[in-house]
């Protein structure tokens, strides 16, 4: 199993068109970044946790995949707490550090917001197969096939780049230039990887062309990508969560539009 061919499970979540997952995530994120308050984020997060139960992930996978979000959110929160806009009562002050009532509130809001946007994004995308996403983007969203398929094929090269990088590293030790100047070596190695990847890319382009890619014919699709009931349902769920959190936030008077 790899990123390119993730496991496919029996749950409905695996069969939902990735475009719907993308839309639901963008919708939720788009609404939640309009305000910085802890109420809207908490409401969204609460709803999400209920929905995660149907996400098709075991608790272990969930914990493992979302770990970066769990680390990023409190880190961002802590930074806001220490250096955020000072307002209200000052709790603690040391040099540039200013922990105040305002920064504490802001910190909590920030942490919750990152969780509320980050967790569903990760959860939905863990079950996305890049091939299905490309099919969806081309057939449902109608992005240009050239662009979408080029990107998809290029994605496969990433694995080869990792092998190249390892070989480049060993080769530099063998060439006697791995003792000094770590930074300079890293840069030159990165450049070498760039050269190799361009060559791999152009070879791949030739192979694709040899298979008729870019032929002046209307392309057909071997795998149908459909957008039906369950896709609309998922987008609807995203919208519902977004609206509910905004509604509660406005009703409790804590709506805090970012641009004011």
């Amino acid at each position: 199993m790899s990123v390119l061919t993730p496991a496919r499970g029996p749950q409905a979540i695996f069969r939902i068109n990735p475009v719907a997952k993308l839309a639901a995530t963008l919708l939720l994120a788009g609404v939640l970044i309009l305000t910085i308050d802890w109420v809207s984020a908490s409401v969204a997060l609460a709803c999400e946790f209920v929905l995660f139960c149907w996400a098709g992930l075991s608790l272990k996978t969930f914990a493992l995949r979302t770990l970066p979000v769990w680390i990023a959110a409190p880190t961002a929160g802590l930074t806001t707490l220490l250096y955020g806009q000072a307002a209200g009562q000052v709790y603690w002050s040391f040099g540039l550090v200013n922990v105040t009532e305002g920064s504490l509130e802001l910190a909590i809001a920030t942490t919750l917001r990152i969780l509320a946007i980050g967790l569903p994004s990760v959860v939905l995308f863990v079950t996305v197969d890049p091939t299905d996403l490309a099919d969806g983007l081309a057939q449902v969203v109608r992005l240009p096939a050239r662009f979408v398929l080029g990107g998809l094929a290029g994605l496969r090269l990433v694995g080869l780049f990792l092998e190249d990088w390892r070989a480049l590293e060993l080769a530099r030790r063998a060439r006697g230039i791995a003792d000094r100047g770590a930074l300079r070596r890293l840069l030159s190695q990165a450049f070498a990887l760039l050269v190799l990847s361009i060559r791999r890319g152009s070879k791949l382009a030739t192979a694709m062309e040899a298979r008729g890619f870019g032929a002046p014919v209307r392309r057909t699709w071997a795998r149908p990508s459909t957008f039906r009931g369950r896709e609309f349902a998922l987008v609807g769920l995203g919208l519902a969560v977004a609206l509910l959190s905004v509604g509660v936030s406005v009703a409790t008077g804590s709506w805090n539009f970012v641009l004011t």
Partner: protein
């Protein structure tokens, strides 16, 4: 299998009239003055010295040479009476590098890719996908990840992708050059099965003639100076032009490599040390190797490497030959046991090569990687060769002298100012050996030094290594190439991939 389906396509004709192609930015024409006629259904082996424009012709027939910005065309080249670019999918092209021909992540999707581009209806696509996979003998589920395929399987997958397009002209550009012997046979057999059931016109480029000889009924030899050098029935062309072809780097069956390696004295304890039965340069008590920390490949490897002798590491794909070579070379850490350098090799440094500084490796163990491009770090051939001596802080004049010497020895002097990445395959290989020779290591470790090389480069590499062995350098080489092992290997270490590996001792082969 449905042979009828593949046979439903009739072969395409090929006509060239004074055809030539010049790549953008080049002064010379890659192909020029070509007059040629290939009838529908003919099976052609295309030969010629490297640089004769064989690949250019095949790319042109497949319609992938590109437009005016890629180069300039003169004369006429027609497939079925039309410009090749006008009828995409009429010609199917299989290329050399297995890795760069896999396009999608799953087997079925990858085969379907070409059909999709040609606008084939969905139900028909999947029918063709099944047919094509049957035809090439890839018995795998459609959802099988393409990243898990071996080189030979990847080539057969690419062939299936080409077949699914139902081309009237099947073009193969050295399809087996990067494969191990088992992979070569698999691909060859797949192609044989396809040809049996197809009327498609077939053109293959390959310098190892024996692989395809029985499948073709015509051999065309391109002249590096332009035009056609020889054209006719395989037996006639090969017997009449044999010498010329061999000189141009073609492996003509029944002629061997044309290189005689005289018997070397292979006393493990060479004269270079006074102590009788002297110590080996390198030994590996209880060595275990691993690609990553936990992924053990082989254990209990007890090897010795002696000055002036060649050790060949052989075995199937994935048995760990490269891993073993890199471990012996002091680049990968042993997963168990140890790699120990004798005092002669260590020369005052630590006994374990993996603990040496990068600079200390230069005069002790030189490694030539399978892909030369991985080890290039400079902008010109000259600078590339100077990297090692410079890292040793040698004085300027000494570096220049040594670099000139290596340039000459490897016949790269006319390319001294060229960028290493722009060299041909054979030149790149010679340069990668040269970069290592520049610092005169006592032990040379090479990973597949003759992979995909034509006969000319092959002879040069074998002759050079033979010379170095006579001078007392030790050589460890990973190789699938039985000719190479027979020509140089004093001893062969066969990694089986599963059971305990063993050393086969053998005398130096002289023919």
């Amino acid at each position: 299998m449905t042979p009828a389906a593949a046979a439903s396509v009739s072969g395409a004709s090929v006509v060239a009239r004074g055809w030539g192609w010049r790549h953008a930015g080049r002064r010379g024409w890659a192909v020029d003055g070509l007059d040629l006629r290939i009838e529908p259904g003919e099976r052609v082996l295309l030969l010629g010295a490297s640089g004769a424009g064989k690949s250019t012709l095949l790319h042109a027939l497949a319609g992938v040479l590109g437009g005016d910005e890629e180069g300039e065309q003169r004369g006429q080249l027609l497939v079925n009476g039309a410009e090749p670019t006008a009828a995409r999918g009429q010609a199917g092209l299989l290329l050399q590098d297995p890795d760069s021909q896999v396009i999608l992540a799953r087997v079925g999707d990858d085969v379907a890719f070409g059909c999709e581009n040609l606008g084939v209806p969905r139900e028909e696509i999947w029918r063709r996908v099944h047919d094509a996979l049957d035809m090439v003998g890839l018995d795998l589920p459609l959802s099988h990840p393409t990243s898990a395929l071996s080189g030979g399987q990847k080539q057969r997958l690419a062939l299936a992708g080409v077949l699914a397009m139902r081309p009237g002209l099947l073009l193969l550009d050295e399809p087996t050059a990067n494969l191990d012997p088992a992979g070569v046979l698999d691909v060859r057999d797949s192609v044989a099965r396809v040809l049996e059931h197809s009327e498609a016109t077939f053109i293959v480029i390959e310098h190892r003639v024996a692989i395809w000889q029985s499948l073709v009924n015509r051999v065309i030899v391109l002249d590096a100076a332009g035009g056609v050098l020889a054209d006719g029935h395989p037996d006639d062309v090969l017997s009449l032009q044999g010498d010329r072809l061999a000189a141009a780097g073609v492996w003509v069956p029944g002629r061997g490599s044309g290189l005689t390696v005289p018997r070397r004295e292979t006393r493990p304890a060479s004269l270079s040390t006074s102590v009788p039965g002297s110590e080996p340069l390198l030994r590996t008590p209880g060595l275990a190797i691993a690609r990553t920390r936990t992924d053990f490949v082989a254990r209990d490897i007890d090897l010795t490497v002696h000055a002036g002798t060649a050790l060949a590491l052989t075995g199937p794909n994935g048995a760990g030959k490269s891993t073993l070579a890199l471990t012996l070379a002091g680049l990968l850490k042993p997963a168990g046991g140890a790699v120990l350098a004798g005092p002669e090799l260590a020369d005052g440094a630590d006994a374990e090569p993996i603990r040496w500084k990068s600079r200390q490796l230069l005069t002790r163990i030189g490694t030539v990687f399978q892909d030369p491009e991985h080890q290039f770090v400079a902008a010109t051939v000259r600078a590339e060769l100077a990297v090692g001596p410079r890292a040793l802080n040698q004085p300027g004049p000494a570096i220049t002298a040594r670099v000139d010497q290596v340039l000459q020895r490897l016949r790269l002097d006319h390319l001294a100012e060229a960028n290493p990445f722009t060299l041909s395959g054979g030149e790149k290989r010679r340069l990668s050996v040269g970069t290592v020779l520049a610092t005169r290591p006592r032990l040379l470790v090479l990973d597949e030094p003759t992979f995909g090389q034509d006969l000319r480069t092959w002879r040069e590499i074998v002759a050079l290594l033979d010379e170095l062995l006579r001078e007392g350098t030790a050589v460890v080489a990973v190789s699938h190439d039985t000719d190479f092992v027979a020509a140089l290997g004093d001893r062969e270490y066969h990694l089986t991939g599963q059971a305990g590996p063993g050393v086969t001792s053998r005398a130096a082969v002289s023919r």
